[in-house]
Amino acid sequence: MSLGSDDVKSIAHLARLEIDEKNIEEHAKTLSSIIGLVEEMNAVDTTGIKPMAHPMDISQRLRADEVLEENQRELFQKVAPETKDGLYLVPQVIE
């Protein structure tokens, strides 16, 4: 399967990723060749094989729902682009 410019635009939108208009065709070409590589998978019949999500085939450990971390909001917000009164600021969302 090959991807065209419109496909790349819609995938980029899903990923919230701006792609330069002049690079879209190049991306379509490269992504198509990667998908071509990936589709070598289709030559193998995998009926009945259980998908493997974890390399050791185990599920993730859970812990008790206890507060272990102390609040370090100020420290963590020091690296933020814009904050006010302990909140992260973004352009206005609701009119």
Binding site: A15, L17, E18, I35, V38, M41, V44, V79
Partner: protein
């Protein structure tokens, strides 16, 4: 001079009082200053805090509280969060990011008393096999500065090979420790998935990522792995398993060791000279009493296709956190929230990262999920089962680490597929969560060639034993590029 010494040799010198940690640290900082403009293996150099830490290490030693690694310098791949030190992950996205906390690996190496010289260059977000995707420019291979060092832990490999640091940390998602170790002629180990904590290690593909040591020898890797490993409650995929002393088995004789040679690792894709060098290493093992057994890993050819679904899918999900809101790059004057997300990400990420996010987003999108992601996970099990069957018959598997020696900068950067195929022998190990190593085994045209050794889950001790015994019989790992001697 100090830079030609292994960790255990440096440790002995420190213990005997023949050198102080401050002297060692000054020596390596000077070497970085003299040589790194040429190699570009460091993104950040932390001279001042390093000297402060070295002074403290010397006092600790005087007080009789030193361990084997106390006072020895190390460099960390810039993927590990380091408190109060820039942690860029090789990306413009994090060029302004000073981490508010330490990764567990960094914390553990500090507890062991090691001194941080700086942060090493890498492919952006660890996506690449040549270190050319770094926002901070390509790293050069000290054996030929026109060639790549491999990637993604290219800065770590290059700096250890040029002896600018005695050791470095790396991470390996599809070969990112082993391939650069091979291309730069050093020893690198990717542990079993879950052996080393991923906390504070910026995530690329969470079911594959694993941190490990890069150094001059297997013995050095054992010392580093002792300090690095262990259960960490802060990493939900960290495994609760005791850490053995990885130096304990180094000297075990190899008599009767069963070595499996997968026929798929010696096919037409492998260069003849690399093949000859690997065969010669295997002859060395025969002479040490090992038994060679021909095996097959029939699904090897599927590893690269499967990886390029699983890794991008996990990457597209992991990298969604870089949104210009809480940390990292933010675009100028966003007109609304969507514009903020799109432009911050579009400006912050380089081309290879964008490619992988797009592929992953596509593979996970409605209507394609089963055809790509589920299919890849089914094949992942088949690849993993190949290894399970092989380890019923053999103790370790051997082959080349990389199909060829270091290629030239620019040679593959326009052709992602041929770049991806340079990890053809390393990727399956990550998919199966196994430990793997690359050990220097010779030179082709003055460029290093690595031997890959793969062991069963949690069998790092055997891996290190097998590599160490080889390094007792050969001195490929001691070779230093002429201009960095």
């Amino acid at each position: 001079m100090y830079h030609t010494k292994t960790l255990s040799e440096l440790s002995a010198l420190l213990e005997a009082g023949d050198v102080t940690s401050v002297q060692l640290t000054e020596h390596f900082l000077q070497r970085i200053k003299n040589h790194d403009t040429e190699l570009n293996s460091f993104i950040t150099i932390t001279a001042e805090p390093a000297l402060k830490a070295a002074t403290a290490a010397d006092e600790k030693r005087k007080a009789g509280k030193a361990g084997p690694l106390t006072g020895i310098p190390i460099a960390h791949k810039d993927i590990f969060c380091t408190k109060n030190i820039k942690t860029s992950c090789g990306s413009k996205m994090l060029d302004n990011f000073v981490s508010p906390y330490d990764a567990t690996v960094v914390e553990k190496m500090q507890q062991a008393g090691m001194i941080i010289l700086g942060k090493t260059n890498m492919d952006e977000f660890a996506m690449g096999s040549s270190n050319e995707t770094s926002f901070f420019g390509p790293v050069k291979n000290p054996w030929n500065t026109k060639a790549v060092p491999g990637g993604s832990s290219g800065g770590s490999a290059s700096s250890v090979a040029a002896r600018l640091t005695p050791a470095a940390t790396g991470t390996d998602t599809g070969g990112s420790i082993r391939q650069p170790a091979s291309l730069c002629g050093i020893t690198g180990l990717k542990p079993t998935y879950g052996r080393v904590s991923r906390y504070g290690m910026i995530a690329f593909a969470s079911s594959l990522d694993q941190a490990g040591p890069m150094a001059q020898s297997a013995e050095d890797c054992a010392l580093l792995l002792n300090a690095m490993s262990g259960f960490d409650p802060k990493d939900s995929t960290s495994l609760e398993k005791d850490v053995p002393d990885y130096t304990a088995d180094l000297n075990k004789p190899l008599d009767g060791l069963k070595i499996g040679l997968p026929k798929e690792y010696f096919d037409e894709g492998l260069s003849k000279t690399t093949n000859d060098i690997v065969q010669k290493a295997i002859d060395e093992y025969k002479a040490m009493g090992a038994e060679i057994i021909d095996i097959s890993l029939p699904n090897t050819h599927l590893a690269v296709p499967v990886y390029y679904v699983v890794a991008p899918a996990e990457c597209s999900s992991n990298l969604s956190r870089f949104d210009g809101v809480r940390f990292g790059h933010r675009c100028e004057e966003p007109k609304d929230l969507e514009d903020l997300y799109k432009r911050s990400r579009g400006e912050g990420f380089g081309d290879e990262v964008k490619r992988r996010i797009l592929i992953g987003t596509y593979a996970l999108s409605a209507g394609y999920y089963d055809a790509y992601y589920i299919k890849a996970q089914q094949l992942r099990r088949m690849i993993s089962d190949d290894f399970t069957r092989a380890f019923e018959k053999v103790d370790v598997i051997m082959g080349p680490t990389s199909p060829e020696t270091a290629f030239n900068i620019g040679e593959k950067s326009d052709d992602p597929i041929s770049m991806y195929l340079s990890d053809i022998y390393t990727i399956a190990v990550n998919l199966a969560g196994l430990p793997g190593m690359s050990v220097p085994a010779g030179f082709n045209n003055k460029m290093p060639v690595g031997l890959q050794i793969i062991a069963n889950h949690f069998d790092e001790s055997r891996l290190l034993n097998v590599a160490h015994q080889y390094q007792q019989k050969t001195d490929w790992h001691k070779a230093i590029p002429e201009q960095f001697k």
